[in-house]
């Protein structure tokens, strides 16, 4: 039974750890499907995390925090759009610049406003998104098998966790069942076809980036207002890049993206859980190895186990009308 409880606990933390990846991955999906590479997911998450925690702590409201996280993240997405859509700049350079600005500005502003070494004040109850306990969760906790699954895995997460997973079918529906989705996918494949069909390529891509900004904002808010009780400098710790890897791994499809992010989340969870405890046969594994495992696996999986991942054909190329 101990093993079962342990597995449930690992899966529970898998869910918690994969949420920011999933939100960032879906964010990247909107942007890359529209033909804009976005290496700045990391930076947008970071400013979202900072803006969310800062606003929540000043206004004493989790929802104002979330709103501010989304607003600032979208603003950064628009900067990326202005550089790479309107001015046809290099999308990678613009994305990297956004990451640098995010890393620097959050620390400077955090120090200037709160004087806690770049942190935001610890969030009080009501300023963060608390776990939602589902009806009957405590009552069934002791029922074998189903009890722990219901109480641990399904119940007891914050609003944003449920939101993140609901975004998966929603993203799929938007992309593959709506006019906006059809046009968005088209503009990532052949913007000239969209242009000659009488649709504005730029406006379409801006809208895709707004979606990206909203989702990275939520991802950032999750980091600073759910996973952590406040903003800590560089708290995204490369999750934006892992999300990009997951996006490739998922071949730019929403449901695949969920499984890819769950896998990366699981590796993370397992690494934390297994730290210091000896494994059967192998014995004690160095902590560093466990921490590196998700990254090692990412490289191996991307290198050969997923077959050919074909990115949207117009990805990374600014649209210029041909002469």
């Amino acid at each position: 039974m101990d093993v079962f409880i342990a597995i449930v606990q690992i899966l529970d933390s898998t869910i918690r750890l994969s949420v920011p990846l999933l939100l960032a991955c879906l964010a990247g999906l909107f942007s890359e499907r529209s033909g804009i590479f976005d290496i700045g997911l990391e930076g947008k998450m970071l400013v979202g995390a900072f803006a969310g925690a800062a606003a929540a702590s000043v206004f004493h409201s989790a929802f104002i925090g979330l709103g501010m996280a989304i607003l600032i993240s979208v603003a950064f997405a628009m900067v990326h759009g202005f550089a790479s859509i309107t001015h046809r700049g290099n999308q990678i350079v613009s994305g990297v610049a956004i990451n640098f600005i995010a890393a620097g500005s959050t620390i400077i502003l955090g120090q200037a406003w709160f004087s806690q070494g770049g942190r935001t004040p610890a969030l009080q109850p009501g300023e963060r998104f608390d776990a939602i306990v589902w009806p009957g969760a405590e009552a069934v906790r002791d029922v074998p098998i189903i009890g722990p699954i219901y109480a641990e895995l399904i119940s007891g997460h914050s609003l944003l966790v449920y939101l993140a997973f609901l975004m998966v079918p929603f993203t799929w529906w938007v992309l593959f069942r709506t006019r906006f989705g059809l046009r968005l996918r088209a503009v990532g494949e052949n913007p000239a076809a969209v242009d000659t069909a009488g649709i504005s390529v730029a406006w379409l891509r801006y809208r895709a980036l707004i979606c990206t900004g909203i989702l990275t904002g939520v991802a950032g808010a999750y980091l600073s207002m759910v996973q952590n009780g406040g903003f800590v400098k560089d708290m995204t710790a490369g999750k934006g890049y892992i999300a990009l890897a997951a996006l490739i791994f998922a071949k730019w499809k929403p449901v695949n993206a969920m499984f890819a992010c769950l896998l990366f989340g699981f590796l993370d969870a397992a690494a934390i859980r297994l730290q210091g405890s000896p494994l059967p046969i192998i014995g004690k594994v160095p902590v560093q190895f466990m921490q590196a495992l998700p990254y090692i696996l990412t490289v191996i999986l991307l290198a050969g186990f997923i077959g050919k991942a074909i990115p949207p054909r117009a990805g990374g190329v600014p649209y210029v009308k041909e002469r």
Binding site: L182, N190, A197, K321, R323
Partner: protein, 509 residues
Amino acid sequence: MAQAAIELIGINKSFGAVRANRDINLEIARGTIHGIVGENGAGKSTLMSILYGFYQADSGEIRVGGQPASIKTPNDAIALGIGMVHQHFMLVDNFTVLENIILGAESDALLKRSITKARSELERLEREYGLEVDPDAIIEELPVGLQQRVEILKALYRGAEILILDEPTGVLTPAEADHLFRILKQLKEQGKTVVLITHKLREIMAITDTVSVMRQGTMVATRETKKTTVEELAELMVGRRVLLRVEKGEAEAGAVKLAVKNLTVKDSRGVTMVDDISFDLRAGEIVGIAGVAGNGQSELLEAISGIRHAVSGSVMLDGKPIDLTGKADPGELRDRGLAHVPEDRHHVGLVLAFEENENSILGYHDDPRYLKGPFLNVDAIMADAKDKIEKYDIRPSNPRLKTANFSGGNQQKIVLAREMEQDPGVLIVGQPTRGVDVGAIEFIHKRLIAMRDQGKAVLVVSVELDEIRSLSDRILVMFAGRIVGERGPEATEGELGLLMAGVEQEAAA
């Protein structure tokens, strides 16, 4: 004359210093097929792009159906009933036919309802115009002829009354082109107006009612097709008399330069594309390989030039074998005197982002002539490029210009100049004049014949039957990977056409 569908009055358009359209006046009658001819860069496509709202004219007026129209975006054009089939199809390759047709004209915010509605509308259009396409097929799995049909359907679905086709037959096989013309005639019978942009004069003569000629951004003439001739149009286009069929003397075939024996080539899917082919190419002759595109000619060329792996057989160059494992060093083949002008100059023959002078030595850049120690000898390369520009009449005559900014014909001349000027013993040319205009075709043909007269062996692969007949001393016809016949230059078009269609072979089998 019937009422005008479109009137263009005093249209001007410049791109920087280049005046693409100068004071253009044009009137196109409703319910007719109107051809617009001109060399590459004459401004045909620019003019039509202005009509379609892709560009804005600097000055001038457009009237549609007699009413002054302001066309600022393709949307405005679509609303006025103007549809366009672009030279490079504006389709999303991994979408279905239906998805492509509704893109931008969706009736509803949700796809399902739009698609259901489009499906029945599409069925009606297909029936009405004989344009059958499977609505659920993925575009990239369709042959180009069908992709083009989707483009036409796309325009009709948007209610186009005026259909502009930009170089529609450039990518089509002769059979597909014939089918397209039948469709266009049907559209005309239904009262639609068709504008056909092309540089192929035979098409103009075959299908149009009136024809306008453009040269260097101006409209030089408009004629009734019945009352003009190919010769007159060619002269109007180029501004001088043009030989449509280059004169040449008898070939004096010498020693065997290239011997192909039992060559078999498979493509990446394992399908046999070249099936046990044998032939000799002699010094001082031009051998033409005719055939409908996709019958193994491309694979044959690639195998001979050492790019593609051959399953079996041999190719001897001057009596010594060529490595057919697909790992041949192209540099070594060049040293042995085999020059290759590839079919696809954009992807194989040139680096479009390079300057002209860089492309004119590409592949020969290790030649000591172009080197100064470990560095490129820029002065020598420039002098060499200028020399080629002059000899091959490459325009504009600026070796520093980016290759992408040259027209198709001039790009082809850059490749030809590079390969011919190395004085190779054997020259292999794929589609020597694809996308090249009349004046340049004449020039290229003359050059190829001059090569032959110098005693070089020339192998030409072309899907243009006229070109094969005009150039070749011997014609080999390929069908389904085999050589199904050999004919002399006097062979008729009908005779070769039957061979190309594989008719004779089926009868024999």
